[in-house]
């Protein structure tokens, strides 16, 4: 009798030949709510890629106060002109070699830099030399931002945007 009580669930159903009674809570209401939540989150989900920022200095008409002790620095001009409807032609003023794309522009800008700390001795421009991005009015903004990004990647710190040249 004692042994029978300890295993009474199994033995009871076996003895009576009846299926085990279901002791499950009704889940359908919860499933309803979960489906609603699922639909809500699918509808409101944001599938656009994340946006980030590039911090830039803006062209100042007044300019910074002149420093008498240091000679004026020659700026490195990156000229962008539209090519066709959406493309762009990149050139660095004073250098015959035109970059083929913005990854190439970053490589060229790095080669033009003089920074002994990074082992760069070939170039004539220091990291804080002014870099001016000179796009024509018809250049798409994406190319301008891309040129800025290339200059940042080449570790220039003083990058400016020129006024619109027609």
């Amino acid at each position: 009798m004692q042994a029978d009580q300890t295993v009474h669930h199994r033995s009871a159903s076996k003895r009576h030949g009846r299926p085990k009674p279901s002791m499950q809570p009704n889940l359908s209401a919860m499933i309803d709510v979960i489906f609603l939540l699922l639909i809500y989150f699918v509808v409101t989900a944001n599938f656009t890629p994340d946006e980030g920022v590039l911090t830039a200095k803006l062209p100042q008409g007044t300019g910074s106060p002149s420093q008498d002790m240091t000679p004026p620095q020659r700026p490195l001009n990156i000229v962008l002109s539209p090519a066709g409807e959406t493309q762009v032609r990149i050139s660095i003023q004073g250098y015959p070699q035109a970059p083929t794309g913005f990854a190439d522009l970053a490589v060229l800008l790095t080669q033009l830099q003089y920074d002994p700390e990074r082992g760069l001795h070939s170039g004539a421009f220091k990291p804080d030399s002014p870099v001016v991005i000179k796009p024509e009015a018809g250049v798409r903004w994406q190319h301008v931002a891309n040129a800025f990004n290339a200059a940042v990647r080449a570790r220039y710190t003083n990058i400016n945007f020129a006024q619109v040249s027609q």
Binding site: M30, G52, A103, G138, N146
Partner: protein
Amino acid sequence: MSSQIFHRGPTKPQMNITPLIDVVFLLIIFFMLVNNIISEQSVQMIVPQLDEPTTRELDDAGRIIVNIAPADYAHRERADNPLLFDGEARFIRVGLQTFAADDLEGVTAALIDAKSAYPDAEVVLRSDGALYYGVVQPVMGAITRAGIDKVNLVAYMPERGAATVKIGE
């Protein structure tokens, strides 16, 4: 004793879920409304996609967003080449104030107001990648006229694990 219970039939314990459903519905309605209000601040556009971007995440600190909105579009028509699109601006939005595309004085005035209210706030320039530089540059001029010389340009973050998007090649 146990056999007595089974004779009466199985018991079905049930929770009353009605108040739970009520609350969940309320929450759904609440979040839908809040979401609409938030999304109204950021204008629909495709910001520049960069080659090997050096973009950093936006700080949560105070920021004044200057949106330069492109013409209306459906997502599908710009899916293949986002740059093949109208390069003119439709309007400029500073915070929640909307200005005409040529109302640069209004933009400057709004930025001066915003800057005096929140001196530490950073200015974020959010422009569609397809807009012409001749449209964006005057807005940058309007920002500098408000006495702001630093601006954060918005572009897409690098995709994790994805190949770099090459555009303009």
